[in-house]
């Protein structure tokens, strides 16, 4: 069941991965950005976990909303509003849904999050941003669920799609975010946001495994 507890586990696992990969994210951001992506997300996700710990039991939407507002309050930079918006829209999509534990509801929530990132950041896929990991992941999730695959498998496919999308950012010339300032010199480096977004999807695959 993708309930509040499962979503909390997802957020926790994302926080754990971000903390573990903090230096690697910053290293990626050093090459084509300003060397803060790891510190930014780690600060935000640590705060999000603390906020969830402090909060009394609440529904699935509330878990994601708390995560969203905490990220917006603590991250800053580009990734703060973007990840914040992702979780906020995802929470909105779960709010008042009859059965939020339905995998399709999760897929709709994630898709709403993705649309929120697009609306907030005005980037497109191929611009060398987190969208290049998140977008393919959402597509893969939808497809797998539509094909009747169990949630486990669908999330696995999504994680793979995210990782592929992340890797595919390497040759791209950035058009959005800080990396765009480098022009041609941005090619040859993986986008840090695509790397962190991949962790987000991988966290879902790990934390929600067996909860379908």
């Amino acid at each position: 069941m993708v309930d509040a507890e499962a979503l909390t586990a997802w957020v926790r696992e994302f926080a754990r991965l971000v903390h573990e990969q903090r230096d690697e994210l910053t290293r990626l951001d050093s090459a084509i950005g300003d060397a803060d992506h790891g510190a930014n997300l780690d600060r935000g996700m640590t705060a999000a976990v603390a906020a969830l710990d402090a909060q009394s039991a609440a529904g699935p939407a509330a878990v994601l909303k708390t995560t969203a507002t905490t990220l917006i309050k603590t991250v800053g930079g580009a990734s703060g509003p973007l990840y914040g918006t992702f979780f906020l829209r995802a929470a909105g999509a779960l709010d008042g849904v009859p059965d939020p534990t339905d995998p399709a509801a999760l897929a709709r929530a994630v898709r709403a999050g993705l649309d929120g990132v697009v609306a907030r950041g005005k980037a497109e896929r191929g611009d060398k941003t987190m969208l290049d990991a998140l977008g393919p992941a959402c597509d893969a999730l939808d497809e797998a669920l539509a094909a009747g695959k169990p949630l486990d498998e669908a999330l696995g496919a999504a994680a793979q799609a995210a990782a592929d999308g992340r890797d595919a950012t390497e040759p791209l010339v950035a058009r959005k975010g800080r990396a765009s300032y480098l022009g041609e010199r941005s090619a040859g480096h993986v986008d840090p946001g695509a790397a962190s977004a991949t962790l987000l999807v991988q966290a879902a695959a790990t934390a929600l495994a067996g909860r379908g």
């Binding site: 910053t26 050093s30 090459a31 084509i32 950005g33 300003d34 060397a35 803060d36 790891g38 510190a39 930014n40 600060r43 917006i72 309050k73 603590t74 991250v75 800053g76 930079g77 580009a78 990734s79 703060g80 509003p81 973007l82 907030r120 950041g121 058009r175 959005k176 975010g177 800080r178 765009s180 300032y181 480098l182 022009g183 010199r185």
Partner: protein, 333 residues
């Protein structure tokens, strides 16, 4: 990493304690990391709020005071402030005449200020206008990209719009001055060394001893190209050529020329660069009406400089000369 700091995580909070101690005429909201004019909000005066990532000191908090900003929000190092900070600043400077947000064009800054304005609109009826600065000619401007970065011209916008607000002019006019300054200003920067972000602990990029980066921003981003070290007079040409070919600066009342240090470059080199900048401008037939030479918008400990030119007119020169009393820019009072 060699820095005068305690824990890298505390750099911003610790520095704000120092600012508060050094400038009793400012009010520092440590929780929200906002530096206010001591007398904010001023009834009937448009409130000016700026802010951004820390690591660019004295920008922005060093420009809070009479004739310039009413509040500055300090984000983490190189990370734009969060909406709550900007919203707190906006509330705190609202004297009934509306609030101008001066935002440097970075995805994060723009989004966080936008979200703050949305918050402010939802909570109060404060009128907020945002002006985004984007003067860095190192970045190609295009509809399909994040656009140009906001760099040196931001300091001039804060000074000139600040003077207009101090005169009691309405929000629309103050915003107009800000937009006009941004439109008439262009910048270009270079680095001799990378900066080191405290939380990262090592230089953002490696730069061999005999090379420099041309077209860097103020966040340790590498520049557009790497070239062999060159004498200051050639550096001045490399910085001014793209500025002057982007905007015709001849004629009119001359320019305000601003040679800015990136944090690790001492003043003697900035004066030396200014001499070379003036030499290039003379050859191009451009007169300098006013100037500013110093480290006003830094990139932590990066060695290097940027040059900003602002095509001036009578009104802008009058606003430039108007009194200003802030920790880092002060004259006429």
């Amino acid at each position: 990493m060699k820095k005068l700091i305690n824990d890298p995580a505390d750099v911003v909070a610790d520095a704000l304690r120092g600012m508060a101690a050094a400038h009793p005429d400012l009010r520092v909201d440590h929780e929200n990391r906002v530096v206010f004019r001591g007398d904010a909000p001023r009834q009937g005066k448009v409130g000016l709020v700026s802010g951004g990532g820390s690591g660019h000191e004295p920008m922005h908090a060093g420009f809070v005071g009479l004739g310039m900003l009413d509040a500055a929000c300090a984000g983490e190092v190189f990370t734009s402030p969060v909406p709550d900070q900007v919203a707190a600043a906006t509330r705190g400077v609202d004297g009934g005449a509306g609030v101008l947000h001066i935002v440097k064009n970075y995805t994060g800054d723009v989004m966080n200020f936008e979200m703050a304005a949305e918050l402010a609109a939802a909570e109060t009826d404060t009128e907020v206008v945002a002006v985004v600065t984007d003067d860095d000619v190192a970045v190609k401007d295009s509809l399909y990209t994040a656009g140009r970065r906001g760099v040196g011209v931001t300091v001039l916008v804060e000074k000139l719009a600040g003077a207009a607000a101090e005169e009691g002019r309405p929000l629309a006019e103050v915003a107009d001055v800000a937009r006009r300054v941004n439109a008439a200003g262009r910048s270009m920067g270079m680095a001799l060394t990378s900066c080191t972000v405290p939380a990262a602990g090592r230089p953002t990029f490696d730069l061999p001893d005999d090379e420099m980066e041309i077209g860097i921003g103020i966040h340790g981003e590498p520049g557009r190209r790497r070239v062999p070290l060159a004498p200051a007079r050639e550096v001045a040409e490399m910085l001014l050529e793209p500025v002057l070919s982007d905007l015709d600066m001849t004629g009119g009342d001359g320019v305000i020329a601003f040679v800015n240090g990136m944090g690790g470059t001492p003043l003697i080199e900035l004066y030396l660069m200014y001499a070379e900048v003036v030499a290039v401008l003379e050859k191009a037939g451009i007169g300098v009406a006013r100037n500013l030479v110093g480290s006003y918008m830094t990139s932590l400990d990066m060695a290097g400089c940027s040059v900003t030119l602002l095509k001036a007119d009578d009104e802008l020169l009058r606003l430039w000369d108007a009194p200003v009393r802030t920790p880092s820019l002060r004259w006429g009072v």
